[in-house]
Subunit: 342 residues, 2 copies
């Protein structure tokens, strides 16, 4: 528990604030692109422990980040549920759209864990490399709604028309898909802890599209159910929740999800978050990835505003969304130095 990230997530202010970045191991990095060039496809990379572990560790070596986050993808869960998942360069993920829940309802969550064995081996390798050091290891998964939206739409979506049509028109059937994802995701997160993850993050990247009551039903409650299952198995492992884009609903997620910390998107206003969110749970965030891309004074001003707002209470510095591929390496290095007081 001497690791700075774990201290902050346990509710203790840490100075300087621990820092890691969503997509810190990714396309902006030459080391990553070099490894990526050696594999035929992205999913193979996720399921090759030697390479996935190497990628996970790259930003720790280059920037001494306070956390290594497992290199994987939220769509490994649908893959393990038997859905075809492909990644096409420049087009994002493509899944065979889900039209029928019958096949899925026969899937056993324990089979999901069996199929995701290489992910746990990746964590074990990374954990061994981090032994004795200050870097915490974060496991993760997608939240049920976000993963369901990819499964139904067959990829990313602008208005989630197909997924919302199912939720609005056939809520019982949609609930059964969400329930399957709750079980599979909880099992996957618990297995990650057992393979060495010291903290977990749940990404609800598309949470910000629902009216209040539906946000509660399809995002908040399923995520809370996952967190309860994880806590029943591993009471002390902190869970960070990232319900991106939920606006004023962030307060309900802070109070009712059971998450140990909330990751804030770029748009969450700082003084409001300080008063209404950080008063309940540690917060993480929320520099605009495009301010990191811009660098210079634009970045520095916004970093200082975030540190001024959150820095003297439990807080983890991060972005409001993932690092974008065009980000210069020296901007990341400068950001880390800034947060560490250089």
């Amino acid at each position: 528990m001497d690791k700075p990230l774990l201290r902050a997530l346990a509710g203790r202010p840490v100075t300087p604030a621990p820092i890691w970045l969503m997509r810190q191991a990714g396309r902006y990095s030459p080391e990553y692109r070099k490894v990526r060039a050696r594999t035929v496809d992205f999913m193979t990379l996720c399921f090759t422990p030697e390479l996935a572990a190497e990628i996970t560790l790259q930003p720790v070596r280059r920037y001494a980040m306070d956390a290594a986050i497992l290199f994987s993808d939220i769509l490994t869960v649908p893959h393990a549920l038997g859905r075809e998942v492909r990644f096409e360069e420049g087009r994002g993920p493509r899944l065979e759209p889900l039209r029928n829940l019958k096949d899925l309802s026969r899937v056993d969550p324990s089979a999901v864990v069996a199929r995701l064995g290489p992910v746990y081996e990746t964590l074990q390798r990374v954990k061994a490399e981090l032994a004795g050091g200050p870097t915490a290891l974060i496991g993760f998964a997608g939240a049920p709604w976000t993963v369901a939206s990819y499964m139904i739409e067959g990829g990313s979506s602008r208005d989630f028309a197909a997924a919302k049509a199912l939720a609005y028109g056939s809520p019982v059937e949609f609930q059964s898909l969400i329930d399957i994802l709750v079980e599979a995701t909880a099992a996957h997160l618990i297995a990650q802890v057992e393979a060495g993850a010291e903290a977990l993050q749940i990404f609800d990247s598309w949470a910000g599209v629902w009216p209040e009551a539906d946000s509660r039903r399809w995002c908040l409650l399923p995520t809370a159910a996952i967190i309860r299952r994880v806590k029943a198995a591993h009471p002390l492992v902190p869970v960070i929740l990232f319900p991106r884009g939920v606006g004023a609903m962030y307060e309900a997620f802070a109070r009712e999800s059971g998450a140990d910390a909330l990751s804030l998107d770029t748009t969450v206003p700082l003084a409001w978050a300080r008063a209404h969110l950080q008063a309940h749970v540690p917060v993480q965030g929320n520099l605009d990835p495009l301010a990191l891309l811009a660098g210079g004074e634009a970045m520095e001003t916004r970093v200082r505003a975030i540190l001024d707002a959150f820095g003297d209470a439990p807080f983890v510095f991060n972005l409001g969304h993932g690092v974008v591929p065009a980000t210069p390496l020296e901007h990341v290095a400068r950001l880390v130095a800034l947060v560490r007081g250089a």
Copy 2:
């Protein structure tokens, strides 16, 4: 001032609540598609008063909506500033991306109004048709940031990388573009009032992408400047502001923009909006357009929740975003009947 919409916008509760829908004249309607089929392109339609007036009036005739909103587009302003704007079927708007502000800085806002003459003629025609009836006529424009984003990106965008790069990297230059848009937009809105608009709506459709300080600088302050100019010319004309996606920042827009009413997107939680927004200004919204598409119990439950939250204080029923093209006509008819207590 006996028109229900104008009474609600003046801060008086109206029962039943007035209703109109964003994109109520649009692709879901067979009358619209029939008129649309007669014109070569969308911009020509916007600049043909006889046809634009006909389209504006269609939803008033079919559903007796409480407002007719001018049929036009937010990109008429960049067009009037001399930028090429085309609409490609299924791809949305395409503009020649703006790389240099020199040309723009020579544009006279009064030239903008001269070039938008057909829009004002449309309003005059509609106003004449509505004379003596209870239907209010709404004019509109895009907010500077949203319009600037289209001008810089050349169309719609997923992450606004080019527009944000300019704002973060060259804020003085970006401010000069915003200032030009403030002047042009204020002039356009004032001319709409003089042609018959009885209320105005400002659409900041892409407001929800900024950190707090930037949201204030690029969305809230420019919009407030437009509203001040409009009010200086026409103190009694109500202005509705739609800063879509700004989450907890909605409260700052309610208190600081000078808008007479706020249009709420789908994600704004109802009890929070009642306490923090409707306490300051009338609100409008916020049914999910995909709940309208779904119809039936899904729609009816959500309509009742909105009416229960907002109905006994100044309120205008609307969607949280525009009607989607696949929406069945009978769902719109049922929605109007529901709001009117049938």
